[in-house]
Amino acid sequence: MFKKVLIANRGEIALRVIRACREAGMRSVAVHSTADADALHVRFADEKVCIGPPPARLSYLNIPAIISAAEISGADSVHPGYGFLAENAHFAEVVQRCGLHWIGPQPEVMRSMGDKVSARKLMSAAGVPILPGTGVLENDRDAEEAIERIGLPVIIKASAGGGGRGMKIVEDIDRLHTLLAQARSEAQAGFGNPAVYIERYIARPRHVEVQVLGDGTKAVALGERECSIQRRHQKLVEEAPSVALEDARRAELLGVARKATLAIGYKTVGTLEFLLDEDKRFYFMEMNTRIQVEHTVTEEVFGVDLVREQMRLAAGEPLRIGNDIRPRGHAIELRINAEDPVTFAPSPGRITALNLPGGLGVRVDTHIYTNYVVPPYYDSLLAKLIVRAENRPAALARMRRALAEFVVEGCKTNLDFHRRLLANADFVSGRMDTHLVERMSG
């Protein structure tokens, strides 16, 4: 494989990659900002290079500094982790042009899947269902025709928009013209562009995603993950497998994901994200062209080291996992964040006391330790608590037990939120959608 891997990241994922390197007999180079001089990824890597001051744009997003660090340390490859530069096709190209191996997919694939419109086109061409919808509407007549085709309810969205502004849900065709007018003027006021389009509206969607691996000529779909427990599009809990899928529907979903991966000639690991409607029909949302935070639950049920496979595939080795592989048991991951449980505001500070849970079937991926100071500059993820058991009820029981052992003092965390979630009847019975957390808080 590689001889020396530079990890262009920090926190638990940097540590995760360092561990994979060490087990595979590769040397690792940590890069860090001055704020992370005492971080665990810096201590556990074979070499370290300080690349800049605390703000990420001057350190972890600083491409020249990272390339220089690779140069002076003699690294032959770069692992981007997740976040920061992980989905930056330009960075991937610079890495390759500098004669280094990029531990990720081909930059051109990253670029085309990074653009929503081109990703939708590519996936649609590969036979992946996408949410029925329109392009920008020329007039109200277009909208009526679209609704005849799609059916109600639909959502009107601002073409230039985001964050809910300009969005109108149409449940009654008589209200269409009024809502279109409102959406256009909100879009004009909010984004300076009145263009709107229509998409089928799913009131209570689930977020289900598929882990894929490819070597360019072969592809495998390594099961799905249920990620419906979110707050403001930030995932908080992930599970594998999803309780929402019957075997036949699961086989269909995994088959589609595998074919799509093959169609784009995808190399290394990636994730196809889908929305699942109330009738369990699935629609492509987007592809993440990197390792994900929640890769751990897939690792737990399939017994596969995904980071190691990612590095093998990046080195040009053939895919060695077949589509006959089956998951065993059930895994759940909780994201433990440094945040105020009420306001959800980040809560940096010194960790004065820490007890991490352990025991059978419990895994904690974390970079924190007693007296570690959580810096205010980066994201608030402190730890991932993962459990595996023979089935979902057993995994829930194990998670409750592990949560009871988890102690963090000195900064606020969302541990109590997770304890409440594990007592929530809907979550426990598997009746969940992406709005469940809102309903819990409200």
Binding site: T34, A37, C50, I51, P53, R57, L58, P64, S68, I72
Partner: protein, 182 residues
């Protein structure tokens, strides 16, 4: 040797496009004509220089091109409350070093790279221990991404210690020289 020179902007490292200008286009054009380098080449070089925030580009008709980037050394520490819009290369105070003398007496590397004490292998070092340096004087080069970055002293002082050997790799913020106030 005729050269097409482009002066860097005074705003250190500010992203590229802003502030950089070619010193007197007429001079550059005359220089270009008499040296056999065509104007388009000069324009292209100026564009590259702006893009990469170079302080100097030197080209001769044989096709040899030399580029330089001039940056201040570590800003002498102290501590106006920084506004949000600080320029990217302005440096944070050095990480506290145990038993270190007062701040402001070190020149540190503004980025990751390779430390050189002289402009070329055969040339004399920019400074030696015992030398007095003036603010703005070039004290060393840090090579990063094939660019020779000249590091300047940001205050007057006397070099009392050179903390890094020629050709060694340096990290961001690593101390290169210790200065005594002169």
């Amino acid at each position: 040797m005729k050269s097409a020179t482009k002066k860097g902007s005074e705003s250190k490292g500010k992203g590229g496009a802003k502030g950089a200008e070619v010193r007197s286009p007429e001079t550059a054009a005359r220089a270009a004509r008499s040296s056999g380098i065509d104007l388009e080449t000069v324009r292209e070089l100026a564009r590259i220089a702006t893009e990469l925030n170079l302080s100097e580009v030197e080209a001769d008709p044989s096709g040899r091109i030399r580029v330089r980037r001039r940056l201040g050394g570590r800003r002498v520490v102290e501590a106006k409350a920084d506004s949000v819009s600080r320029p990217p290369i302005t440096l944070a105070p050095p990480p506290p070093v145990e038993g270190a003398p007062e701040p402001g007496t070190f020149i540190s590397s503004p980025f990751v790279g390779t430390f050189y004490r002289a402009p070329s292998p055969e040339a004399a070092s920019f400074v030696e221990v015992g030398d007095t340096v003036r603010k703005g004087q070039v004290v060393c080069i840090v090579e990063a991404m094939k660019l020779m970055n000249e590091i300047e002293a940001e205050a007057d002082g006397k070099v009392v210690e050179i903390l890094t050997r020629n050709g060694e790799h340096v990290e961001y913020g690593q101390s290169l020289f210790r200065l005594a106030k002169s």
